[in-house]
Amino acid sequence: MSEYRVLGVIDRAYRGAVEVQFFDALYGILDFRAQLGAVALALRGAAVTLAVDEDIYQPVVEFGPVRMDTLPDYRTSVRQLITEGVPVMVDEPDLRALGFGPDDVVPGVEVLDTNELAARWPEYDGVWFV
């Protein structure tokens, strides 16, 4: 395994449910994790809602007789990242702007100002805006 350390930042989300399905940005982080020395994820902008804990959205859509139940399940992916030990951070100002607070996110997600996180960029070999 490499010692390469990456901070992934996602500020654009919801890039296609039907065509993307499992192959979304969070899958990429889960998949590359094994190759990297360390990976952390920061969510900003509209992507903060990927970490909002809710149980209303069902990743299913129907087009007449065509039923798809393999749409991206973002909160499950965030929970999986947490379970696998990947630090997930979400931007507090952007959460607040959308009416959410620290109590609204998936347990284990850290809420902070991701601008202040920039002071820690030197800890990473790569900072990737995905």
Binding site: D11, G45, T114, P122, V127
Partner: protein, 119 residues
Amino acid sequence: MTVEGDGRPVDDPSRYLLIESQGTWAGPNAGRFLDDARVLAEAGHEVRVFLVQDGVFAAAPGVPQLERLAKAGAEVWVDDFSAAQRALAARSLSPHVTVVGMDRAAELLMSESCRAVWH
């Protein structure tokens, strides 16, 4: 020796080239990235921001992030090709920016210890 905002020296200041390709007109994400640059500069790191593509629209006069970047000691470069393509003449841009060619960005990128982050 560079210093942090509270006067303590940064042990090992890094050199950063931050490339902003999105426009402040497209939403708040570009502005947040420019604020990342400010935080890095305020932490004592050597920061240059290279505005390319729609990122050059942030070089319009009066964009608040640019003044804060300049105050924090960061340099802001504007890609000459992108600016010309968007009819943005050097005289119409913020006084806090310098118009450069891609060769300058490439030279800095490949310099020792320089790290690049592309937004």
